[in-house]
C-alpha cells in the first residue's frame, strides 16, 4: 500500500509547479459482494482495487481501459454515486470520501457527471427546461433574471435552440440529447465534470460535434474533466494526462505524449496497437495481438494482473506485484519489464 502512496507523491512532485490539485484520489477501492464459490461463500468483485491519481483545475485526466477494468466504477465513486469500500477522495483539500447529505449537496454543485446513454439519463416526462433547470431548483438557487433565462443561456451555450425550452427529450436526436445532459451538468457552474463515455453511443459525425463542444467549454469555463472512455483516439484528443486501467488498477499514468508515443507498460502498447487506424491502410507490421480475454475480477491473477496475457511475463510477475514507478519513458508504470522504445514518431 505504501508503494501506491509513493507513486502519488512522485506524480505530485512531477507537477508541483502547477499548483494544488482540485481532486486527489488515494488508494481507492471498491469491492462488490457476490454470492458464489462452494457452499455459497461470500466473494467479492474487486472492481476497483487501489487507484490513486490527481486532477488539477482546468485539466483533463483520461481514464481508458477495456470493459470491466473499473473505469466507470471509479467515476461513480468520484461523484459519490457509489460509496468507496476504502481509500480517500479529497476535493479542494476537503475529505469527501464519506461525505453525508449536506456536504454532498454542496459538493455536487462543484462536481457533475455526464452519462453515456443520452436516452436513459433524461426523464422522458420532463421538458428540457425542467431537466436543465432541476439542479438550480434542487439547490434553491435563483439566478439573476430567473431560472428560465439561465436555462436558455445554458441551452445556447451547448448549441441548442433556446426556444426548445418546452420540448420533451423524445423530440431530440441522440447528439442533441447528449447536449441537454451537458447543459444540465453545467447549470451549477461546476469545477469538475466526470464524463463517463459521453460520446460512445453517438454516430461518428455527431461524436465529433460533442467532442468539439466539450473542448470549447473546457477552454471557456476552465473546467476540469475526468474523461472516461474505451476509445483511445477520443481520449488522446481530449485529455492532457491519461491513466490506463486494467482489472481495477492503474497500470500506467502520465502525460498524453508519453502514453501514446512512448508507452512503458506492455498493456498500453498492446491496447494502442489493437486500434484499427484508418491511416495505416492494410498495414499489419509490428502489431501486438493479446491472447484470450480479461480474467475475472472476482479472482484476479496473483502478482501482476496482466501477466496471464503478457508476452513478457516471467516468474517474478506471478509472485510480486509491480508498483507504479517512474520508467525510462517518463510515465509512471506498474511493470517489472517495461518497454522503452518509441512507438510513434511525431
Amino acid at each position: 500500500m505504501t508503494e501506491t502512496v509513493d507513486a502519488v507523491q512522485l506524480d505530485t512532485g512531477w507537477k508541483a509547479a502547477q499548483g494544488e490539485p482540485l481532486l486527489k484520489v488515494e488508494n481507492l477501492i471498491k469491492h462488490f459482494p457476490v454470492r458464489g464459490g462452494m457452499f455459497g461463500s461470500k466473494q467479492h468483485v474487486r472492481a476497483v482495487d487501489g487507484v490513486s491519481f490527481e486532477v488539477r483545475p482546468g485539466e483533463t485526466l483520461g481514464l481508458v481501459g477495456e470493459s470491466g477494468c473499473g473505469k466507470s466504477t471509479t467515476g461513480r465513486m468520484l461523484v459519490r454515486l457509489l460509496e468507496p469500500t476504502s481509500g480517500k477522495i479529497t476535493f479542494e483539500g476537503q475529505d469527501i470520501t464519506h461525505a453525508r447529505r449536506g456536504q454532498l449537496q454542496r459538493l455536487r454543485s462543484d462536481m457533475q457527471i455526464i452519462f453515456q446513454d443520452p436516452y436513459s439519463s433524461l426523464n422522458p416526462r420532463h421538458t428540457v427546461g425542467t431537466i436543465v433547470g432541476m439542479p438550480l431548483k434542487v439547490n434553491n438557487i435563483n439566478p439573476p433574471g430567473g431560472v428560465k433565462k439561465r436555462v436558455q443561456e445554458l441551452l445556447e451555450l451547448v448549441g441548442l435552440n433556446p426556444e426548445h425550452y418546452n420540448r420533451f427529450p423524445h423530440e431530440f436526436s441522440g447528439g442533441q440529447r447528449q447536449r441537454i445532459g451537458i447543459a444540465r451538468s453545467l447549470a451549477l457552474r461546476p469545477k469538475i465534470i466526470v464524463a463517463d463515455e459521453p460520446v460512445s453511443a453517438l454516430d461518428v459525425s455527431i461524436q465529433a460535434q460533442v467532442i468539439n463542444l466539450l473542448r470549447d467549454l473546457q477552454r471557456d469555463l476552465n473546467l476540469a474533466f475526468v474523461f472516461i472512455a474505451h476509445d483511445l483516439a477520443v481520449v488522446r484528443h481530449f485529455s492532457q494526462r491519461v491513466a490506463v486501467m486494467y482489472l481495477g488498477k492503474i497500470v500506467e499514468i502520465g502525460p498524453r505524449e508519453q502514453i501514446y508515443n512512448r508507452p512503458a507498460h506492455p498493456y498500453t502498447k498492446a491496447l494502442l496497437s489493437a486500434v484499427p487506424d484508418a491511416t495505416r491502410l492494410g498495414e499489419s507490421v509490428g502489431r501486438i495481438r493479446l491472447q484470450g480475454d480479461v480474467p475475472t475480477p472476482i479472482n484476479p491473477p496473483s502478482g501482476c494482473r496482466f501477466r496471464t496475457r503478457c508476452w513478457k511475463a516471467q516468474d517474478i510477475c506471478a509472485t510480486q506485484e509491480p508498483a507504479l514507478s517512474v520508467k525510462e519513458t517518463g510515465s509512471l508504470a506498474a511493470c517489472h519489464f517495461p518497454e522503452n522504445a518509441v512507438l510513434i514518431e511525431n
Binding site: E66, S67, S173, G175, Q176, D203, V204, S205, I206, Q207, A208, Q209, I211, N212, R215, H230, L232, A233, V234, R236, H237, R256, Y260, A270, L271, L272, S273, A274, V275, P276, D277, A278, T279, R280, L281, G282, S284, R287, R289, L290, Q291, G292, D293, V294, I344, N346
Partner: protein
Amino acid sequence: MSTANNPYLQVSNLRVKFETHDGTVKAVDGVTFSVEKGKTLGIVGESGSGKSVTSLAIMGLHNPKSTLLQGEILVDGRNVVGMPDDKLRLLRGRDMAMIFQDPLTALHPFYTIGRQLVEAYRVHHKVTKAVAKKRAIEMLDRVGIPQPQRRFGQYPHEFSGGMRQRAMIAMSLINDPNLLIADEPTTALDVTVQAQILDLLNDLQREFHSAVILITHDLGVVSQVADDVLVMYGGRVAEYGTAQQVMKLPQHPYTWGLLASMPSLRGDPEADLLPIKGNPPSLLNVPPGCVFHPRCRYAMLKGGPCDREVPELLQLRTVDEPGHTVACHLPERQRIETYQEEISSVGVAQ
C-alpha cells in the same frame, strides 16, 4: 473494385421501402455493387444509412408483409428478390450466412452452443448427429475457442463476449458458405478482442475463399480488412471504389466528414475535429436533390443542382485507375483541390 465478369454477389439498383403509420420509409434507394469470391467489401455508413437493411435484403430476412423490395440481387446468378421462401431457406445458411453485431441476441439462450451448431449443420447436410458433432467441434477449434470439446456442451451465457462472437462465426461458417455478411461484428467488443476477431475473419476468408461483406461505421476497421469500400448515406451510395482509392483520395464530402470527424492516434491532438453539421436525414422525408446537401459545407451550388437533382454515381476521370465512382455535383477538379487543401490534414484523414 470487382471488375471480373462473374462476381458471386451482384446487387443492381436495389430499393427497399417500408410502409409505416407515418408514411413510406425509403431505407435503400437504388444501390448497386458486387462482391467477388475471395474479396471483402466494406459498407460504411452511420445509423439510418441503409447499410443493415441492404444486408437483410440480401439474406431475405426482411419482413415480407411490410417491405417492398425492388431491383435485383443475384447470388451466384440466382435472383433472390421475390424468390419463394422455401427456396431461399436452402440458400440461407448454406450458400450465404450472416454474423450479427450482438451474439447474445443472435444465439438461443436455452440451447447449448453445440446443439445450435449441430442444428445449423444438419439443416443442410443429411448426416448423423455424431458426424455433425465432430464437424461442430472442428469449427469451434478452428475459430480459436480453447477446449472445444468442453465448450460444445456449454450455454451462450457461459461464454465471454469475444468467445460468443467466435461461436457465431463458427456457426456461420459451418456450412462453408460462399458469401458471408458480417454486420458490425466487432462493435460490441473491446479493442484487443476486436483485433483478434478481425484477424480471425481475415484468416478464415483466405482459407475458405468466400465473398465477405463487412458492415461497419468504423473507417479504421474498413481500412484494415476491406478490398473495396462502399460509403452509404441516406439509403444511397455516396462513394464506391477500392479501399486504396476511397481512403487515399476520398471524393465525397460525406466521406470527408467521416474522416475528419474521427480523432486519430497520430497528428496534432490539439487540432479541432471538423464534424459534419446537423443530423442524418429522416428517411420518411428525404431531402430533394443530393441527400447530403443540407449538411454539406461545400453545397455551394445551392440554387444549382445540389438541392434539385439527385447526383449520379459517376466514374472519376482525371485521377487514379478506373473503378472509383462518386455521387456529387461538385466539379471533380474542385473536389480534389478541396480535399488536399482542407481535409487531408484533419482527424484520421491526415
